[in-house]
Symmetry: C2
Subunit: 327 residues, 2 copies
Amino acid sequence: MRVTITGAAGFLGRKVAGRLALEGKLGAREITAMTLFDLVPPKAPEGARFPVTCLAGDIADPAHTARLAERDTGVVFHLAAVVSAQAEADFDLGWRVNLDGTRAVLEACRRAGSRPRVVFTSSVASFSGGQQAVVGDTTRPVPGNSYGAQKAAGELLVHDYSRKGFIDGVSMRLPTVVVRPGRPNRAASSFASSILREPFLGEEAALPVPEDFALWIASPRAATDWLIHAAAMDTRALGLDRGINPPGLTVTVREMLEVLRSVGGHDAMRLISRVDDPEVAAIVGTWPARFDHARALALGFRTHEGLEAVVRAFLEDDLAETRAMRG
Amino acid sequence: MRVTITGAAGFLGRKVAGRLALEGKLGAREITAMTLFDLVPPKAPEGARFPVTCLAGDIADPAHTARLAERDTGVVFHLAAVVSAQAEADFDLGWRVNLDGTRAVLEACRRAGSRPRVVFTSSVASFSGGQQAVVGDTTRPVPGNSYGAQKAAGELLVHDYSRKGFIDGVSMRLPTVVVRPGRPNRAASSFASSILREPFLGEEAALPVPEDFALWIASPRAATDWLIHAAAMDTRALGLDRGINPPGLTVTVREMLEVLRSVGGHDAMRLISRVDDPEVAAIVGTWPARFDHARALALGFRTHEGLEAVVRAFLEDDLAETRAMRG
Ligand SMILES: NC(=O)c1ccc[n+]([C@@H]2O[C@H](COP(=O)([O-])OP(=O)(O)OC[C@H]3O[C@@H](n4cnc5c(N)ncnc54)[C@H](O)[C@@H]3O)[C@@H](O)[C@H]2O)c1
Ligand SMILES: NC(=O)c1ccc[n+]([C@@H]2O[C@H](COP(=O)([O-])OP(=O)(O)OC[C@H]3O[C@@H](n4cnc5c(N)ncnc54)[C@H](O)[C@@H]3O)[C@@H](O)[C@H]2O)c1
């Protein structure tokens, strides 16, 4: 079968493509071809033993999405999105890419006629309630930002296209993925990765929230494992509800700084400074940090490793590439 | 101020327009003009002491929605929609009118620049869980039909446009409105009105669900009162959450038939017959019947009258018109 990844030039898109190239299959099904799609032409992953088609296009432009899914398409990872701070800054762009774009991707899947598994990346940002909230599987999304509203609306599309049998969809409400390699980005949660990445590059990082601030996070390894499990699992166990809160890790900034000190030492710690950023604090302040993961665990999504393992995996998997990227 | 009603040729649109013509104001604010919008040109309500503009157009066609909101528009009742069974039968039409159309209405409001109060009619159909479920204010919508998914997505738009300050929106999740005058329509819940309306016209009515089947209903009077309260209330009390489960009435089909007998006698009862309709049963079977209304009551939405009062109000308000309509 063919596997498509939208947003394939992005952080998680590259991780997923790399893993699939390595493994050559998804669950029991062999991968025979791959389509990678992004605004800029994505690079084919190293070592793929199947043909990879790299397409540049805009998911929000229906003229570009026709080739996203074909008759042999078995799985679509729909990861392309405008991230939180950018969607908040540009209301029209956010709704256009994150809602209209998602709909265009689902329409392409419907037209392909192969009823592909679609793995959609929703987000913790679809919830609000902040530090006080405990989110369960039946909690209503009352988003505190446009990005979260767009993701919650995208879930409803995935839900309804699945119910109708046009696709076989799963929406993963990903936690903030930490440590994100590369440069700080326009996600409001960018600081959460910066404080565990920049010091290892000898760079300073700003902390816009207090030390007792709690976050719900996932490592790139865990997020990738979950996305791949969502693509391979038996969806009959989901019933009508196609959305999943995966088993993320709840950590405080203090715990993150303790791990930074234990792995990076005092030199690393000295590079962190507390800097107020009301705009970022307002967005992340509404995101809940505590989740009930019972359903995800019952559905076979793996539990999360500890925070020190997350930081060591960053050094192992992504530090060299991040350093190279910065020249 | 100007008041706009979309879907103004429909059942609730005509009720709301009639009430506003009678009262001449909304809360403390005087109505100085009214715009009525529907696919077919709506009729101006009798007795209005303000100018009424009647427009024919499609809310899903942006070329038609430009005149929906103007600089003096203070309130928009957005009621235009494709109803449940029709949206289930025509997937593309449902999403086009109920999602794209709602977005076009909100865009027209945003462009008008008057930050109007927008009262959006969402629905019990956005929830599932059926007879077992008890729905609270924080319950996630997991719709069992496309109409419900479209309404839940519309709520997210109303929510985000409000948070951004483009509009001042309130989404009312209306129960099934009973007794609906006129003819049976393409809502899956049409039977709930038929069994309390047809016998009073000497006509037979089919019952597609068993007698112990429970429904969450509202009278046209209660629904109209709630919509008008939603248009006049102080929305600061809502906080981030713009959606409301109003204080509907939970009734079983058996209770409905008892009231039919007590008001209409045995002749009325004889006109009801149990007829299986798997398509209708599948849609309404997912709608919950039990709700927690604490938040709505705290926000000043009035409690519901009893079922016998509902039937007597139908005879008083709507029987003559329904009879005339049928010729
Ligand atoms: N990384 C996180 O912390 C996190 C958390 C929750 C959810 N998510 C979601 O997971 C997905 C992947 O996240 P990521 O961190 O890899 O994001 P990313 O920003 O690194 O990658 C997203 C990719 O989408 C592409 N894209 C944007 N607009 C596009 C358009 N109109 N057409 C085609 N491509 C477009 C971008 O070019 C980019 O390569 C996104 O949907 C994101 O919202 C991420
Ligand atoms: N009546 C109920 O039981 C009930 C329950 C829950 C929610 N609602 C919602 O309340 C609102 C009003 O309900 P109603 O019972 O008056 O419905 P209705 O069907 O009587 O009226 C809806 C009106 O919308 C108009 N319309 C449809 N598509 C349109 C388009 N593309 N452009 C312009 N107008 C269009 C129709 O012509 C119709 O006059 C609807 O949004 C409905 O979904 C109703």
